[in-house]
């Protein structure tokens, strides 16, 4: 196999895996193991791509169908996208493991695993593509599978949450098509590398500014940034646990990825404007998400609000835009995916033992007390979310602080420091209520619930990456260096 075709693996393996899983619908046990195998295969494929990118020291580009870049579709694995795809599949594999040990009714539906695999394929495709229209198509695949998985939820309000999200996403994809039309009318191409070159050469086209604004709105809806966040807590808390762990950790990273690409590749000319917007909205999101998370009375909803705050931290990193800050944002994004997925799985494991299926604090008070494993894991995860050593949350936050201090952005540092303390407050309050205080009515909790293997794997990784952070930090540094020199990307795609 041609090494440049490695880019195809993370997209094709889950996509074919999903189709085959659909054929296995009458044999649920086989289907589950097939799904796990396909997802692990995709993880192996993405790791191979990752190794190839770093060995070559240049982006790996696959021109689909052999058409050269501005005319055909290019799939590009550079430092950023390879790292994000590896992160996606690590979390997705644990999602399948969680679903296998879950007691939700949803995971026994024959369509669950095919949809889960197509969710993974959509996300990997949207990250790896080097063409805006292909990104739109993959984003749509992502949205539809995520919505279906939520609408099938055990939660009685799953359908309502799914509809709200779906309506918002359709509006977002309508904006994206509009932006694509504007860019095509102005520059006659949709290949991201070609667009980057042409926009840098002639930034005076009148349709460029609308396209920038529309794409900003699109990625803000996708990553639930502060003024566009309103559907997110509903959606992420009503989805089945295995799914909500994916949605709140890796799926929101698609919007983050879009901002990385927008500010460092596509619209370098308008990057200062976008960056100052991201700084303001990121800070607002940090404060709003932190305060809402501290105020809510539902464990899953608390974690969903916390995602708004954590995405705010990443946006601040992108907003500072120096090489160090970009590296910090990448590290933060990777770390947050693992921690948040593990925390939501632990929340789901506790909820599955509750007498009523609800994550409200007054229902699950003290339910987690007898489960020693979940107690320990939730404590470690909470420390990770708040950024306390020895977890990898500390590494991300420390890098962010250092990059801010290097730029003398002390006002923003005060805000994110205060919000970090708020994170500690709400995670430890949740820990105390769910895992420490005695249950109000003893004996109501069910003796068995979801298995803890998947969150244990993720928390193990969280601690490992906290103690031995050097490889991740170095990879993020290299990725940031490639991002700040967009010519590397453009030359790799267009050649010459």
């Amino acid at each position: 196999m041609n090494p440049s075709q490695l880019v195809l693996l993370p997209i094709l393996i889950p996509l074919t895996g999903g189709v085959v899983a659909l054929l296995l619908r009458s044999r649920p046990r086989l289907q589950r193991f097939w799904s796990l195998g396909a997802m692990t295969g995709a993880l192996a494929g993405s790791l191979a791509l990752f190794a190839e990118v770093w060995e070559r020291g240049a982006p790996v580009v696959c021109q689909v169908g052999g058409w050269p870049a501005p005319f055909g579709i290019a799939l590009v694995g550079d430092g950023l996208s390879a790292l994000f795809v590896v992160m996606t599949f690590i979390v997705m594999v644990t999602g399948v493991i969680y679903a296998m040990g879950s007691r939700d009714v949803v995971v026994r539906y024959p369509a669950f695993h095919p949809l889960f695999l197509s969710l993974a394929a959509g996300l990997a495709g949207a990250i790896l593509t080097g063409d805006l229209f292909t990104m739109y198509v993959f984003a749509e695949l992502l949205v539809i599978s995520g919505t279906m998985l939520t609408a099938a939820s055990d939660d009685p309000f799953g359908v309502e949450a799914a509809y709200k999200y779906y309506y918002m996403s359709l509006t977002a994809s309508f904006f994206m098509l509009l932006a694509i039309g504007c860019l095509y009318a102005a520059y006659g191409t949709l290949n991201m590398a070609d667009l980057a070159r042409r926009i840098a050469a002639d930034p005076s086209q009148p349709l460029l500014l609308p396209a920038v604004g529309l794409l900003t709105a699109v990625f803000m809806i996708k990553s639930a940034v502060f003024p566009f966040h309103f559907w997110q807590p509903d959606f992420h808390s009503a989805a089945p646990t295995a799914v909500s762990a994916m949605l709140s950790s890796v799926v929101v990273k698609f919007g983050v990825y879009g901002f990385f690409r927008m500010t460092t590749l596509l619209f370098v000319v308008h990057a200062p404007t976008i960056r100052s917007l991201l700084l303001v909205l990121g800070a607002a999101g940090i404060l709003f998400g932190g305060l809402s998370a501290a105020g809510t009375r539902n464990l899953k909803r608390m974690l969903a609000y916390s995602t708004i705050a954590q995405v705010g931290f990443i946006l601040v990193g992108i907003g500072w835009g120096t090489r160090m800050a970009l590296a910090a944002a990448v590290v933060f994004a990777v770390n947050h995916s693992m921690i948040k997925a593990a925390m939501l799985m632990l929340a789901g494991a506790v909820v599955s033992r509750a007498p009523v299926k609800s994550a409200a604090y007054n229902v699950i008070d003290g339910i987690g007390r007898p489960i020693f494993g979940a107690k320990l894991l939730f404590f470690l995860g909470g420390m990770g979310l708040a950024g306390i050593p020895p977890t990898n949350g500390f590494i991300g936050k420390m890098l962010l602080f250092r990059s801010g201090a290097a730029e003398d952005r002390f006002g923003m540092l005060v805000i994110i420091g205060a919000a970090g303390t708020l994170t500690l407050v709400y995670t430890m309050r949740a820990f105390q209520r769910v895992f420490w205080t005695p249950a109000s009515e003893e004996g109501l909790a069910k003796p068995v619930g979801d298995r803890l293997l998947a969150p244990a794997l993720l928390i193990g990784l969280v601690v490992l990456l906290g103690l031995w952070a050097e490889p991740l930090v170095r990879c993020a540094g290299d990725a940031a260096q490639w991002m700040t020199t967009p010519m590397v990307y453009v030359q790799a795609v267009l050649g010459g």
Binding site: P156, F157, E160, Y163, T171, Y184, A185
Partner: protein, 111 residues
């Protein structure tokens, strides 16, 4: 012809946005469909007036029309068709469960 296209795109956008802001779920969904069609027409106009001979026939150089916007619209139509069908399917479940199509009364998650 250009003027007529511009006028119809504008009209579709206007009606679509008006319908999206309605409180009735079905009306707002119809508004979204109108908006999608407005975008499709906009995409078409992004490349339609380059040439008037169909692409991939033996046209003299420089007169063939741009085939890419049409391919994009074809994909966008198929996607929006599937999306709309799925949206109405979810809406059927909602209207059965909540016994209303008023967006203000579909608020189980707020309580």
């Amino acid at each position: 012809m250009e003027f007529l296209t511009a006028l119809s795109i504008g009209a579709l956008f206007g009606i679509g946005i008006f319908q999206v802001l309605r409180r009735n779920l079905i009306r707002s969904a119809i508004g979204l469909i109108l908006l999608t069609n407005a975008v499709n027409l906009f995409l078409l106009s992004a490349g339609a007036y380059d040439g008037f001979v169909p692409a991939y026939v033996n046209a003299p150089p420089g007169t063939a029309s741009d085939a890419l916007p049409q391919a994009l619209i074809l994909t966008a139509i198929v996607i929006s068709m599937g999306a709309t069908a799925f949206m109405f399917a979810v809406m059927i479940v909602i209207s059965g469960r909540y016994r209303t199509s008023d967006a203000d009364q579909v608020n189980g998650l707020r309580q």
